[in-house]
């Protein structure tokens, strides 16, 4: 039910009301049960932070990398194996805990999943709230700043 497309939502007032009520109840229950933040406001839910892709190094990469930053910073990179090796070594210098025996496997995992030939990562957007579309006045000091 989280993945209802907008067209289904718009198909009738009665169905919309029923769906909103169900969504509201479900969202409150889910929020109470789970620390994973998915957002009921949107027809397409998305986790606040992403996961790394499956693979034998998924768990170790999660521990080593995601202590300091979320997975999207990795998911959006498209780098050669040599460039990934440099990144891993830099991050180890900056405090990432990677067992020396795991270094090569971690570089393989990253360069296999995030190589230049992979399709680009498509990022989510922030939800549009009440503050949107209010452009500040530009009349007062235009041209006077210097």
């Amino acid at each position: 039910m989280w993945g209802q497309p907008p067209s289904a939502v718009r198909s009738g007032t009665a169905r919309l009301s029923a769906m909103l009520l169900t969504l509201a109840i479900t969202s409150i229950i889910l929020a109470a049960l789970s620390p994973i933040a998915t957002f009921a406001q949107n027809p397409v839910p998305v986790k606040v932070t992403e996961d790394l892709p499956p693979g034998s190094m998924q768990a170790k990469a999660t521990t080593s990398c995601l202590e300091c930053h979320e997975a999207r910073i990795i998911l959006q990179q498209r780098l050669s194996k040599g460039a990934w090796a440099k990144e891993v070594d830099k991050m180890v210098k900056w405090g990432a805990v990677v067992d020396a025996n795991d270094r090569d496997a971690l570089i393989d995992y990253l360069s296999t999943n995030f190589s230049p030939d992979r399709p680009l990562y498509e990022p989510p957007r922030t939800w549009i709230g009440k503050t949107a579309e209010k452009a500040p006045s530009t009349s007062s000091a235009a041209g006077k700043s210097k």
């Binding site: 909103l20 409150i28 933040a37 406001q41 949107n42 397409v44 999207r72 900056w94 957007r125 210097k146």
Partner: protein, 389 residues
């Protein structure tokens, strides 16, 4: 320091809060395939990273002279300060000065305030468009925005402390929280730029106090320069004898002295620190991939040039064979972008629309940007492909 446990606790709280928020499912908002995330005060922004927070302004929002704060791009290198108490906040001024100072926020507010409309752009804006790709936040076209920043001049504070003749650079340190053994985000600017009448300790943005994501309660505002110069959550100013030695001055935020071949490595000694922004334009509409009806189509966008001024913007609707002058917007300020519009009467067909800016220093956007290993200052001619029926 903010521990992982604290962070998870905060996230759990955020999830609870959001789960109980009113449902607004019927709002007519274009929802991208990959979904949306609620970040209060940040509207319709592209989430390059949630933790730490990096939000890009979609190009369609680059269409107002002043960018509303909810659409103003956010670039964090570290985690935001977990505690920001305006009463407890202090700004220290030390180093090569006669009288080291400590200022409270109310003391800062008593100093004469100045306003500067400034286009702030991340040095890495457009990094994702470089080939071969390079590591870093994969900014598209929108790590750039414009606001009116207000606050005391940095030089008024520095002169109150008295700069010694040995003081040649000014270092800024913010309150961002540093994970692991990551080097702190500390940078410096030369004393000449620090003493410029337009360099501020900004406390306000578009007439309102800075929001947390933009550096509350005070940030440096170094106009016309790369965004990284304008340190957020400012808490320490230190006058130094030489440029600050740290990761974000070298090897970070440096540019090759000579053009390099794409993919080449560059030695640190063959680079210089980034300062002012490049000449650049971006098309805010029509959007890439749009299908439009034949007839009058307004091609519009923004153009900026750091410390220089935009003198012309040209648009091509035939992939670069012919270039047409645009109308520049009325609103202008030294360090602010110019909005521009080209009224085009379009017939049916597939088009590649290009925009190209030229500035007062004689710089023109190149067809291909100068590739560099960190993807800085990307400024190739902008382009969108559209279909007209």
């Amino acid at each position: 320091m903010n521990s992982r446990r604290d962070f998870l606790k905060q996230m759990s709280g955020a999830a609870m809060m959001i789960g109980a928020a009113p449902l607004l499912i019927s709002r007519a908002v274009p929802v991208p395939q990959s979904g949306t995330i609620e970040i209060p005060g940040e509207d319709g922004m592209i989430v390059r990273s949630f933790r730490f927070l990096d939000l890009e302004t979609p190009v369609e929002y680059l269409n107002t002279w002043l960018t509303p704060v909810p659409h103003f791009f956010v670039r964090n290198h570290m985690h935001e300060p977990s505690q920001l108490d305006p009463d407890g906040w202090r700004l220290t001024v030390g180093g090569e000065v006669d009288k080291p100072l400590t200022l409270t926020l109310s003391e800062l507010a008593k100093l004469e305030s100045h306003s500067i409309v400034n286009t702030l752009e991340c040095a890495g804006n457009g990094r994702a468009l470089q080939r071969p790709q390079v590591p870093g936040i994969q900014w598209g076209k929108g790590a750039v925005s414009t606001a009116r920043f207000s606050g005391p001049r940095l030089r008024d504070v520095l002169q109150r402390a008295g700069i010694k003749p040995t003081g040649k650079h000014v270092m800024f340190r913010g309150l961002d929280e540093i994970p692991g053994k990551v080097p702190p985000f500390i940078r410096s600017i030369p004393i000449e730029k620090a003493l410029d009448a337009d360099t501020l300790i900004a406390t306000h943005m578009n007439g309102a106090p800075l929001t947390k994501h933009h550096g509350f309660p005070a940030r440096a505002l170094v106009p016309g320069w790369i965004g990284a110069a304008s340190c957020k959550w400012l808490t320490e100013i230190k006058v130094l004898e030489s440029e600050f030695a740290g990761n974000f001055m070298s090897p970070g935020y440096r540019f090759p002295n000579q053009p390099v071949q794409p993919g080449d490595t560059v030695k640190p000694e063959d680079t210089h620190p980034l300062t002012a922004l490049n000449v650049k334009s971006v098309i805010s509409g029509p959007l890439d991939g749009a299908s439009l009806k034949a007839g009058k189509i307004a091609v519009q966008g923004a153009a900026w040039a750091g410390e220089a001024s935009i003198v012309k913007v040209e648009v091509s609707t035939d992939g670069g064979a012919r270039w047409n002058p645009v109308s520049l917007g009325r609103e202008q300020a030294h360090y602010a972008w110019r909005l521009w519009t080209y009224d085009w009467r379009a017939k049916g067909g597939d088009y590649t629309i290009l925009s190209r800016a030229t500035d007062s220093q004689g710089r023109t956007q190149p067809a291909i940007a100068a590739w560099n290993p960190s993807g800085y200052l990307y400024n190739a001619v902008d382009q969108v492909k559209i279909h007209v029926a």
